[in-house]
C-alpha cells in the first residue's frame, strides 16, 4: 500500500493546484451567480418577447421556408420548459418535444420514451441509436489517423459533402429536403469485422473515462464527431439560412428495430427556425 501511496503522492505533487486558489474560487462563485442572473433575465425576456410576438405577429410565428423546399413540420408549442431545452447536462428525457440551439438556429424535434440527451449535441438510446446536430468546420483526411491532416470543407454544403466523400466508408450523396430545407444526404460506415480491434491502429484520445482508438469524421470547434467499429451513420447536410447544419443519425448492428424506427420518427419531426 505504501508503494501505491508513494506513487500517487509523487505524481500528484508534480501538478500543484492552480493559484491563487481562493481568488479563483471567488471568481467561480461570482460567475455562477452572474450566470444565474443572466439565465433568469433571458428566460423572462424570452417569455415576454414570445408572448408579444404571438399577439402582434401570430400568423408569422413558426418555421421559415426557403424557395424550392417542402413545408417543414410544424414547430411545437413555444416556449419550452427548462426540461425541454437541451443544455450541457446529460439526462433522461421526458417523451415529447425538445429544443436545442446551434448557432442562430432553433431546432425542435419529438423524443420518444427512453431517450437521453448527450449535452446539447445529440439524443441517444442505450442500445446505440443516436441523432445529433453539428456544424462541421474541419474534416480529417484520414478518419483513422485523424490527428495528422485535415481538409478544409469551406462553408458550402457541396464543400463538406466533397470533403467527407473523400474519406473511406462513405456513399455517394443525393439531393434531399429535410425539415423544409434543401441539402445532401449520404451514408457513412465505420470499419467493422469480427474482432473488436479493427480500429487498433487508429489515433487515440480520451473518450469519457478511458483512452480509446477512434475514427473521427469531422470537428466542430474543439469537439469532434467520431465513430466506433461497425457504426452506421446517415447524414443530412443542410443549408439553413446560410448556416451549414449536419444532422446525423447513427446506429449499430445490435441496435433494436424499435430504436431504429424511433430514429426515423425523430428525424421526421425536426423543425428548424
Amino acid at each position: 500500500m505504501t508503494d501505491a501511496r508513494d506513487s500517487l503522492e509523487r505524481i500528484g505533487d508534480r501538478v500543484p493546484a492552480p493559484e491563487p486558489a481562493f481568488e479563483r474560487l471567488l471568481r467561480r462563485r461570482e460567475r455562477n451567480r452572474r450566470n444565474e442572473r443572466i439565465t433568469s433575465l433571458v428566460v423572462g425576456l424570452l417569455v415576454f418577447a414570445i408572448m408579444g410576438g404571438a399577439v402582434f405577429f401570430g400568423p408569422r410565428v413558426g418555421p421559415r421556408t426557403v424557395p424550392g423546399a417542402s413545408v417543414s413540420p410544424s414547430a411545437p408549442a413555444w416556449p419550452p420548459t427548462s426540461q425541454q431545452l437541451l443544455s450541457g447536462v446529460d439526462r433522461r428525457l421526458q417523451p415529447g418535444p425538445h429544443w436545442l440551439t446551434r448557432g442562430d438556429l432553433l431546432i425542435s424535434f419529438d423524443v420518444p420514451t427512453g431517450w437521453r440527451s448527450f449535452g446539447d449535441l445529440a439524443v441517444y438510446t442505450g442500445d446505440g441509436a443516436n441523432v445529433g446536430f453539428w456544424f462541421a468546420d474541419r474534416v480529417p483526411v484520414d478518419p483513422c489517423r485523424w490527428k495528422r491532416s485535415w481538409n478544409d470543407p469551406g462553408t458550402s454544403v457541396d464543400g463538406l459533402t466533397a470533403a467527407l466523400a473523400s474519406q473511406p466508408g462513405t456513399s455517394a450523396s443525393s439531393v434531399v429536403t429535410l425539415a423544409g430545407y434543401a441539402g445532401r444526404s449520404m451514408r457513412v460506415r465505420a470499419p467493422a469485422d469480427d474482432s473488436t480491434n479493427v480500429l487498433k491502429d487508429c489515433d487515440m484520445t480520451h473518450v469519457g473515462t478511458s483512452l480509446e482508438h477512434v475514427y473521427v469524421r469531422w470537428w466542430m470547434d474543439d469537439s469532434w464527431y467520431g465513430q466506433r467499429a461497425g457504426q452506421f451513420d446517415r447524414l443530412w447536410i443542410m443549408d439553413v439560412h446560410g448556416q451549414r447544419l449536419v444532422i446525423v443519425a447513427s446506429w449499430f448492428p445490435g441496435t433494436s428495430p424499435r430504436a431504429r424506427g424511433q430514429i426515423d420518427d425523430i428525424v421526421a419531426s425536426i423543425s428548424i427556425t
Binding site: G12, D90, G126, H206, G208, S210
Partner: protein, 176 residues
Amino acid sequence: MESRGGDAPIGNAMEVSVSDLSFDELFANEYRALFRSLFLITGNTQDAEELMQDAFLKVWERWDRVSRMENPNGYLFRVAMNAARSRVRRLRLAAKHVVVTGSVEDPFAAADLRDELVRALARLSERQRMALVLTDLLDLPADQAADLLRVRTPTIRSLASQARAALRVTMGADDD
C-alpha cells in the same frame, strides 16, 4: 491517518478543531489535498479544479450547517467524491455509444506522460484510480470507500488491488 465511525474524516485537516474552523481555514487546509486527489482520479487539471471548486462552493452555501458537523473536511471530501463518481458514471454512459469530446488532451498530460508511472496510472480505469485514491492516499477503510462509490466492499478491494498491482508491475517493486 485513522478514521472513525461512519462519517470518517478524509483529508489533511483531521486534527483541526471543528468549533474553531472558518470556511477560509477549511479551504486553506484542504484545497491542495483535494485538488491532488481529484487530479489523480480525473487525470485532468481542469476537471479537478472544477470538481474541487464545486465541492467547496456547496460546502460554503451550507456552511451554517456544515460548520457544526464533527468533520467538515470529511463532508467536503464526500461531496467532492460523490461529484467525481457522478462524473465517471455520466461520462461512461455518454461515451457508451456516442463518441464525442471537448478536448483531445490526454489524461495526466500535465504530469508528464513520458513517465512510466504516470502512463501506468493513465491506463487504469477511473474507478480503479478512485478506489486507489480513497483507500491508499486518503486511508479510507474499504467499507467507507465502497459506500462512497456505491459498490460492495469486495469490489472496492478488488479495484484497489488491481490498481496497486498495475502500478507495482510498472515500478518493478516487490509486493509488500
